[in-house]
Structure formats: structure tokens, C-alpha cells
């Protein structure tokens, strides 16, 4: 056996050198200091704290060291996501009998918030994948659940969600992709836009029109990659979310078996809206993680950077700014967690609360990350520093899963309906 002399001597010399070796490179990005007001483990059960700790460790060790490379080289980190799936992150709120982890929406929010501190873009994709797995688990029959869910929960297969089209974004119910019944197949024609994972994923949950105009004519089909007539547009070049490919998904006389339809015809839009409630909490949770990481980075920077003879942390303006950032972060977190609980319990205010939480958290967290970037001064603008990636990655959270304008529509409708 090869001698390890000098290394072994170092290893025995003192604990400061031989702290758990896989965690070496993360000291700078993950300085966990005295438990503070923004500690995300406040108020959680012991079990939730275990999930969270594990997710934070995974994020720090497996994601954070690569987040910049994945962004700059536009790498879809399949192996890392599969590692995450092995831990149960592939179908967090999918039922255990088909391979899921069977956890609650709140557990899910806590997990995505923690994972996001390692890489927002990858975590956001994992959350979309989870939503797709959940849709099949919830709306599919047993045959469909057994056919698709186990592979999705392990991430042996990846999923994409196709609702948006070039002509219908916020006005989702006006979608034009058609599915005409011919014998035991639907012939699908149309195209979907901005599909996360599109072209690299295996299973596509597609909302298409089987009936007349409006929401009641929409059904949900599961389309598998390799089906003749299914093709993809070019990979889009984005400001952020670069660790997931985004492409148009094109259907040209694509024949999809009727047994791939989830539920009955005309139920698709309902499924989409129900899926989006959870999706909104997930995306908001990703924003929370980015904001949390950014607050830590800003705090560390203020304690180190000196100007005018003292550290920036002595500036009252910056102290107050940091306090405001922390306050908005905790407020956002509380809203998101409450919305998760409401959704889990099927409360009557769940839909509005999910919309409010998504609106509030994505807006506030973007501002937090942006303020954190500002506090870094010129360094904040360099790609060597993580804060700019958090800003770029969460900017889109104010747009997708329902724009924040649509969130306002939902909330105002709820308010004005009671007249």
C-alpha cells in the first residue's frame, strides 16, 4: 500500500486541518455563525430540521462548488440531480407507494429553500420535475402512476411541464395546441414555448385542446421523448437559469396514445391550476434560498471590507439596510411557509395565499439579492462572486409560474368577488 506519510501527519496534527474533507472548499460560501434572526430552522420540528440540515449539506457540498460553472458553461447537471433523487428529492410530495417521499408541502418548501442556496437554477428545475411527478401521481390512474412515477422519483427519467405557448402566456386558457382523437390516439399539433428542460428531458406533461374554446376544452397528455412528430426548437440563451436548457417543444401530427391522458377530457386546465399552486410555493422557496445566501454573503462582506478606515459593518446606513433585508427575508419566509401549510390542509384561502406568497417573496427576495450585490460594490458585478448569479437566477421567478401581475389578478378577484 502506498505510504501517506506527510498527509497522515497533517491529518493527525490538529482538528482545524482535518475537518471533514469534503467540506473544505465551502468555508467561504457557507459561514454558519451564531444562530441569528434569519436562521431558517426556527420553528421547525426536529424531523424538519433533519431534512433541512441534510438539504443544506447537499447544497453546500454537491451544488455550491459547481454553481458558477454550471451557469457559465450551461451544463444540465444530470449526475448531481440523480444523486439528489437518491436522497429522495425526485418526488418529495409524491406518494411512497410509487417511489416518492410522501412529505408535506411545508417540508418541500424547507427543502427547496435549502437546496437553492447551492444553486437556484438547478433547484428550480428539480421543483418543476417534482411538480410533474406529482401531477401524474395525483391525476393519473394506477397504471399511469406505476408506469411513470418510479422512474421520475429516481430521476432515471426527467420531466418537463408544457403549458405556455408563443401566443398564450398569462392567458393560458387561450392555448392553441390541439389534440384530435383518432381511434386510440390523439394527434397533437402546435408548439409550446419556454419549456424548462425541453429537449433534454424524457417525459412531457402537455396541456392541449381536445374540446372547444376556453379552459373547459383543455386536457392533459403525457408525451414521451422519441414519439414521432415531437421535436424541439433551439436552446434559448438566457440571463439566468442556465443550468437548465430551455427550448420550444413542437408537435407535428404527433400521435399520443389515449392511455397517456391524465384524467378525463376537459380536466386539464383544472389540473394545471392545481399544479401551479404548489409550483408557486416551490418557486418562492427557491427565491428564499437565494435571498438567504445573499444576506449571508452581504453580511460577511460588510465584516471584511474596509473603507474610510473601518469595516463597512460600522456604517449605520449599511447596518440598517442589512436589517431591512433580513426583515423582508423572514417576512417572505413566513408567508411562503404559511401558504404551504394552507395548501397542505386544503384551506379555503390556499389559492390566494399561494399567489400572495409568490408575489411577495419573489419581489422582496429579488430586491434583497440586488441590495446584497450593491453592498459588494464593484466586486458584486464580477462573475467570481456568487451574489450576481443569485440576482440573475431569481429575476425570472417574478415572471414564470404566473407573472406577479397575474398574482395580483388572482388576489384582486378574490377581494372584489365578495361584493
Amino acid at each position: 500500500m502506498a505510504t501517506v506519510g506527510p498527509l497522515a501527519r497533517m491529518a493527525r496534527l490538529g482538528s482545524s486541518i482535518c475537518r471533514n474533507h469534503r467540506l473544505y472548499f465551502n468555508r467561504s460560501t457557507q459561514r454558519r455563525g451564531i444562530a441569528s434572526c434569519v436562521d431558517p430552522s426556527h420553528g421547525l420540528t426536529d424531523e424538519q430540521k433533519e431534512f433541512q440540515k441534510m438539504a443544506f449539506d447537499f447544497a453546500a457540498n454537491e451544488m455550491a462548488p459547481h454553481m458558477s460553472e454550471w451557469d457559465q458553461k450551461e451544463i444540465f447537471p444530470v449526475e448531481t440531480m440523480r444523486k439528489a433523487a437518491q436522497l429522495g428529492f425526485g418526488g418529495i410530495y409524491v406518494q411512497p407507494e410509487v417511489g416518492g417521499s410522501g412529505l408535506s408541502r411545508l417540508d418541500t418548501s424547507i427543502i427547496f429553500e435549502a437546496l437553492s442556496t447551492g444553486c437556484v437554477s438547478t433547484t428550480a428545475y428539480i421543483s418543476i420535475h417534482n411538480m410533474c411527478a406529482w401531477m401524474i401521481d395525483t391525476f393519473g390512474n394506477n397504471e399511469q402512476r406505476e408506469r411513470f412515477c418510479p422512474d421520475l422519483c429516481l430521476m432515471d427519467k426527467f420531466a418537463s411541464y408544457c403549458l405556455t405557448e408563443p401566443g398564450s402566456g398569462s392567458d393560458a386558457a387561450s392555448l392553441l395546441t390541439t389534440a384530435q382523437l383518432k381511434g386510440d390516439h390523439y394527434i397533437v399539433n402546435g408548439s409550446k414555448a419556454f419549456i424548462s428542460g425541453g429537449g433534454d428531458t424524457d417525459v412531457y406533461i402537455v396541456m392541449c385542446r381536445t374540446g372547444g374554446k376556453g379552459p373547459k376544452g383543455i386536457s392533459c397528455l403525457v408525451v414521451e421523448k422519441g414519439t414521432p412528430g415531437l421535436s424541439f426548437g433551439k436552446k434559448e440563451k438566457k440571463v439566468g437559469w442556465n443550468s437548465q436548457p430551455t427550448r420550444a417543444v413542437i408537435f407535428e401530427d404527433c400521435a399520443v396514445p389515449v392511455i397517456n391522458r391524465l384524467g378525463e377530457e376537459g380536466q386539464g386546465f383544472n389540473m394545471a391550476m392545481r399544479g401551479l399552486n404548489g409550483g408557486r410555493i416551490n418557486i418562492a422557496s427557491c427565491s428564499l434560498g437565494a435571498a438567504h445566501a445573499s444576506v449571508q454573503l452581504a453580511r460577511d462582506h460588510l465584516l471584511v471590507r474596509k473603507q474610510f478606515g473601518e469595516t463597512l459593518s460600522n456604517s449605520q446606513y449599511l447596518q440598517f439596510k442589512l436589517a431591512e433585508m433580513a426583515t423582508k427575508l423572514v417576512a417572505s419566509r413566513l408567508m411562503v411557509r404559511e401558504a404551504a401549510t394552507a395548501l397542505q390542509e386544503n384551506r379555503s384561502d390556499a389559492v390566494s395565499l399561494c399567489s400572495m406568497a409568490k408575489l411577495f417573496a419573489t419581489d422582496e427576495c429579488f430586491n434583497i439579492c440586488n441590495d446584497a450585490l450593491q453592498m459588494h460594490g464593484g466586486y458584486g458585478y464580477l462573475k467570481d462572486y456568487a451574489v450576481q448569479q443569485f440576482v440573475r437566477d431569481i429575476r425570472v421567478h417574478q415572471i414564470l409560474e404566473g407573472t406577479n401581475e397575474v398574482m395580483r389578478m388572482i388576489i384582486s378577484r378574490n377581494l372584489l368577488a365578495e361584493s
Binding site: 482538528s15 459561514r31 454558519r32 451564531i34 426536529d46 411512497p96
Partner: protein
């Protein structure tokens, strides 16, 4: 023998935390500070669980000494795959004064009670860096020890241990029952999976007091003072070698 393994785990201040000394210099600040399982203990748990998965041993029992919070550390070990836990309750001043000698007496008592094949511990804790508990436990039990293990294998009823020593690697074969301490390169601890964290909730953690085991935990040591390491001071530049020698003499260094 039972095919049972006892793993000792310690709850310590998380490795990434900046340590602060209390203003009265009595001890380090622990209130509100993030704690986690000692990294070498994680490695010990991982090794035991791996051996169980390879069917070399039958049961992994994890033990931790301390106040209520020690249960968190035991649960983490259960989530990694240990079968059951033992929480030895030590609180307040007793806990502040708890050191390797007392812990090894507890471990020795439990090792005999549980009729174990071997005891495995982390080689040292990252808070006190004592590197004594494993060795003392073996001495109290008069069992062979395989410390600083970077590789472990069962050979019949003996254990082959590759130890990391100053000169390189030493391989020893020891009889069971024995005490092993885990070094850094023994393995890479797994992440607990979500299903395992949930299963861990159902696993049993027994609660015992040191007195129940017939162990006296009074400390023979008294901590007089805790200080931060001296702040690094600015150096001084000198012009000539003579100057340097004079300065060194002045400072009493030569």
C-alpha cells in the same frame, strides 16, 4: 458474540462556526451556536452502517452522552442507518466537566452490557481534540485497540485494521471484542435520505443515567481559564543580521 457494534457519537460546535470565548474566560460560547455531529463520529457511524449492509455485523447501537440536545445527534445517526440509540443523560455542570475519562467509563460499561463485537468511535472530537476516549475505553475493558483506522475488515473473528501513523500505514490484526477509532480517510459519510430520516423517528432511543451504569462522572480536572489564541501581531523589519540577532536576544528567544 452478538454481532452488535456500539458507536459513540458526540455533539460538538459545528466546524464552520467562528468560535468565541465568553467574556469571563470560563468557557467557549455555546448558547445559540450551531452544533452538529463530530465529523469523525460521522465517519464511525458510516463504517458501522456499511458493515451492517455487507452483513458483517447484525446491529448498530449508537450512544451519546449529554443533555437533551444529544438526542439530535443520535437521531442523525439513526437517519444514517443505525438501529437504535442510547442517550446517557448528563446535564448542567456535570456536562461542562464531562471529559474522556468519564465518557470512556460509560462506554466501557455499555460495551459490556450490550455484549458488543466492537466499539467504534471517532479518533477525536473537534472541540477538545483530546484523542483519548477510544484508547481509555480499551484500557478500561482490557480490550485490544485499533486506533486511527483508515481501513477496516473482518477476518473471521479478528479485525484487520490499517492505521495511519507518522511513518505511513501500519496494519494490525486484533482479536474481538475490540475498540476502534475512525480516522479521516476511513470512508466518506453518506447523506441521510428523506425516507431514512422519517424511519429514524420510529427507532428507539433508550434513556439512561451514568449512575444506572454504576459510573461516577466526577471530574478530576478543573478548567481554570479559556483564552482565544493570541492575535497575530505585526512583525518588525530589521536592516542587518546583527540587528536581527540583537532583537532576538532582547525578546529572549535566543
Amino acid at each position: 458474540m452478538s454481532g452488535r457494534v456500539l458507536v459513540g457519537v458526540k455533539r460538538v460546535i459545528d466546524y464552520a462556526v467562528k468560535i468565541r470565548v465568553k467574556p469571563d474566560n470560563s468557557c467557549v460560547v455555546t448558547d445559540g451556536v450551531k452544533h452538529s455531529m463530530n465529523p469523525f463520529c460521522e465517519i464511525a457511524v458510516e463504517e458501522a452502517v456499511k458493515m451492517k449492509e455487507k452483513k458483517l455485523i447484525k446491529e448498530v447501537v449508537v450512544v451519546s452522552c449529554g443533555p437533551q440536545q444529544a438526542m439530535e445527534t443520535i437521531r442523525t445517526a439513526l437517519a444514517m442507518g443505525a438501529d437504535r440509540g442510547i442517550h446517557v443523560e448528563v446535564t448542567g455542570k456535570d456536562y461542562e466537566n464531562l471529559g474522556p475519562l468519564q465518557v470512556s467509563k460509560i462506554m466501557a460499561a455499555l460495551a459490556k452490557k450490550e455484549d458488543v463485537l466492537f466499539v467504534i468511535l471517532g479518533k477525536q472530537a473537534i472541540d477538545d481534540d483530546c484523542n483519548q476516549t477510544g484508547q481509555m475505553t480499551a484500557a478500561l475493558l482490557d480490550w485490544p485497540q485499533g486506533t486511527f483506522a483508515s481501513e477496516l475488515s473482518m477476518e473471521g473473528d479478528k479485525i484487520k485494521v490499517v492505521r495511519e501513523i507518522d511513518g505511513g500505514l501500519e496494519t494490525v490484526k486484533i482479536n474481538t471484542p475490540a475498540v476502534i477509532t475512525a480516522d479521516l480517510r476511513l470512508n466518506t459519510p453518506r447523506y441521510a435520505t428523506l425516507p431514512n430520516i422519517m424511519k429514524a423517528k420510529k427507532k428507539k432511543i433508550a434513556n439512561v443515567k451514568p449512575a444506572d451504569l454504576g459510573v461516577d462522572i466526577t471530574s478530576r480536572l478543573e478548567v481554570l481559564r479559556v483564552d482565544e489564541p493570541p492575535q497575530r501581531e505585526a512583525g518588525v523589519k530589521v536592516e542587518t543580521v546583527d540587528d536581527l540577532v540583537a532583537r532576538l536576544k532582547e525578546a529572549g528567544r535566543i
